[in-house]
């Protein structure tokens, strides 16, 4: 499976040379500006504001990076026909998809970790205490973008970047509103209820990864709850990648 890592490495190199990682500097600017503005207008809760806005900024940047990089990760190669040379090599299509996903994951992890370290440095600068809660918040963000990245790869294996981006954003929004959505459809007609419940169970409940409240107020969750969320996230990633492999394996490249 050495070739899987080679594909992942190529994906990472291409992103690096496309200056994708410049987004980290933009993030740094946002966090510093935020902290300057909010510390001026906030009287007592500087640390909470820093954590809250910092994690929210990491979430938005990581999400944007995942969607914009992920949605074209396979179909751009199909459109440009650079995939012809690669798939004719003695590699499996499963290995290709896995390599592309691991490359995307590496891009997301490197940028998110750099942003998180930046946030910790700013917090240290403001002499804010760093508790375990902030790591929990970051863990939730990483899991969420891992799931969305897998969905982006799945979409990219069968449709255009535009449609893929639309689906990813729709999954993100519905994934955060799924509990409210389920509550609403349960009061609706039987047909809507059935459709709504199917959607609820098919789409990921992204609120499970939202630990920003715990991060802001330095609260912890049980190890069991953490493990459940981790297993849920990884299972969803595996299911999305399996779907991508099934679709991609049957594709003809005209």
């Amino acid at each position: 499976m050495g070739y899987v890592l080679a594909i992942a490495g190529q994906t990472l190199t291409e992103a690096r040379r496309n200056r994708v990682f410049y987004s980290v500097f933009l993030f740094g600017l946002v966090v510093v500006l935020n902290s300057v503005i909010f510390t001026e207008v906030t009287a007592t809760t500087v640390d909470r504001v820093l954590k809250d806005t910092g994690l929210a900024a990491i979430n938005i940047f990581a999400l944007a990076l995942t969607v914009f990089t992920g949605v074209g990760i396979v179909n751009r190669e199909i459109d440009r026909k650079s995939i012809y040379t690669i798939l004719a090599k003695p590699i499996s299509r499963f290995g290709y998809i896995l390599g592309k996903y691991l490359g995307l994951l590496a891009i997301i992890l490197i940028t998110s970790t750099a942003m998180f370290i930046g946030l910790l440095v700013v917090m240290k600068g403001y002499k804010t205490e760093i508790h375990a809660g902030i790591f929990l918040g970051f863990f939730g963000i990483v899991l969420e973008v891992m799931v969305l990245g897998a969905i982006a790869v799945l979409c990219s294996s069968f449709t255009t970047s535009f449609v893929s981006a639309f689906i990813c954003v729709a999954v993100y929004i519905s994934g955060h509103l799924s509990t409210e959505f389920l509550r609403a459809v349960r009061k609706s007609t039987p047909v809507r209820r059935v459709v709504g419940e199917i959607l609820y169970y098919v789409l990921p409940n992204l609120e499970r990864f939202n630990f920003k409240y715990q991060a802001t107020y330095d609260l912890m969750v049980s190890e069991r709850a953490l493990a459940t969320v981790l297993v849920f996230g990884l299972a969803y990633v595996a299911a999305a990648l399996l779907g991508a492999v099934l679709v991609f394996s049957r594709r003809d490249f005209r």
């Binding site: 440009r80 012809y84 499996s92």
Partner: protein, 313 residues
């Protein structure tokens, strides 16, 4: 062990067009075979089914019916593809990688070790004339340089079979000559080469056998010499000087006359003998007697035209 490097048997492929409303037949019971160690030229007009057949062999397309085998194995299997090198038509690579980095990636995909990748990449970049541009990003390459890099990546893992889709495309005459020499060199090294092209004179010079495809069907297949011999015209051209313009020679059909010389075409040896005797009797000078030979290009055009007429009928 099969003696065949490639075997296509009754291959069929249809594509949907116009949003799936219509279907277009790209391959229609196409069969061909390529022996180990030969150079096989795959000819045909645009849209004849050459690239579709090649993509089936490279596992980029799956046939609807029929069989495709490479060294007796299914090209969909990785173990089979390990034995072939493939150059797609108008190849495109990763813009942000250098030529050397791209070859390194290809080597890893083929399971080569680091030392072999480094050695082969260096050799091949020099061999295809990209030594000076090895560390330049691919986006700065010209079309011809891309083509050369494509050939290098196809040969990197030293495959037994090399499949090249339009390898001469985008190359200047020097580049074409280089690739021709490389193909001949590969055959000397015991490789099998299967390539599609529109440049028929190249085929005539280097190919052992050719296949002519049209509308997804094989129109003719065989050795270049056998096809040309079979199609050799019995017509002979006789150029005569000093023959009065008013004198008719019923033995031959007059094709042209200029500068006191007259050109006659004869269709049999008897006619030729009679015409020569008559000309000498008239004290004329026989300038030349040339059997009219059809070039491979003429032959291909004639066969395609015949195929078109047969289809129309």
């Amino acid at each position: 062990m099969s003696d065949l490097a490639i075997e296509l048997v009754n291959l069929e492929k249809q594509f949907t067009i116009n949003l799936g409303v219509r279907r277009r037949r790209a391959l229609d019971q196409l069969s061909l075979s390529v022996q180990r160690g030969e150079i096989y030229g795959f000819l045909g007009p645009n849209g004849a089914g050459k690239t579709t057949s090649i993509k089936v062999l490279a596992s980029l397309l799956r046939q609807d019916a029929g069989e495709a085998r490479v060294f007796g194995g299914d090209p969909l299997l990785e173990t089979t593809r390990r034995r072939l090198g493939f150059l797609p038509e108008s190849p495109v690579f990763y813009d942000h990688l250098t030529g050397r980095e791209f070859l390194r990636l290809c080597g890893k995909l083929c399971g080569m070790d680091r030392g072999s990748i480094k050695r082969r990449s260096g050799e091949l970049l020099e061999r295809v004339g990209l030594g000076h541009a090895a560390d330049l990003q691919v986006r700065r390459y010209s079309k011809g340089m891309n083509q050369r890099l494509g050939i290098a990546q196809a040969l990197l893992h030293d495959p037994e079979l090399v499949i090249l889709d339009e390898p001469m495309s985008g190359l200047d005459p020097m580049g074409r000559a280089d690739i021709r020499d490389l193909i001949v060199e590969l055959r000397k090294a015991g490789k099998t080469i299967f390539f599609s092209t529109h440049i028929i004179p190249d085929v005539e010079v280097i190919c052992d056998r050719i296949g002519l495809v049209n509308h997804g069907r094989m129109v003719a297949e065989g050795s270049v010499h056998a096809l040309l011999d079979a199609a050799r015209s019995k017509t002979t051209e006789v150029l005569v000087a000093g023959l009065p313009a008013s004198l008719a020679l019923p033995e031959g059909q007059e094709a042209a006359a200029a500068s006191g010389q007259r050109l006659f075409l004869v269709d049999s040896e008897d006619q030729l003998t009679q015409l020569l005797h008559r000309a000498m009797a008239e004290q004329a000078k026989i300038v030349s007697v040339t059997p009219r030979r059809e070039s491979l290009e003429d032959l291909v055009v004639r066969m395609l035209d015949q195929d078109r007429r047969e289809r129309a009928a």
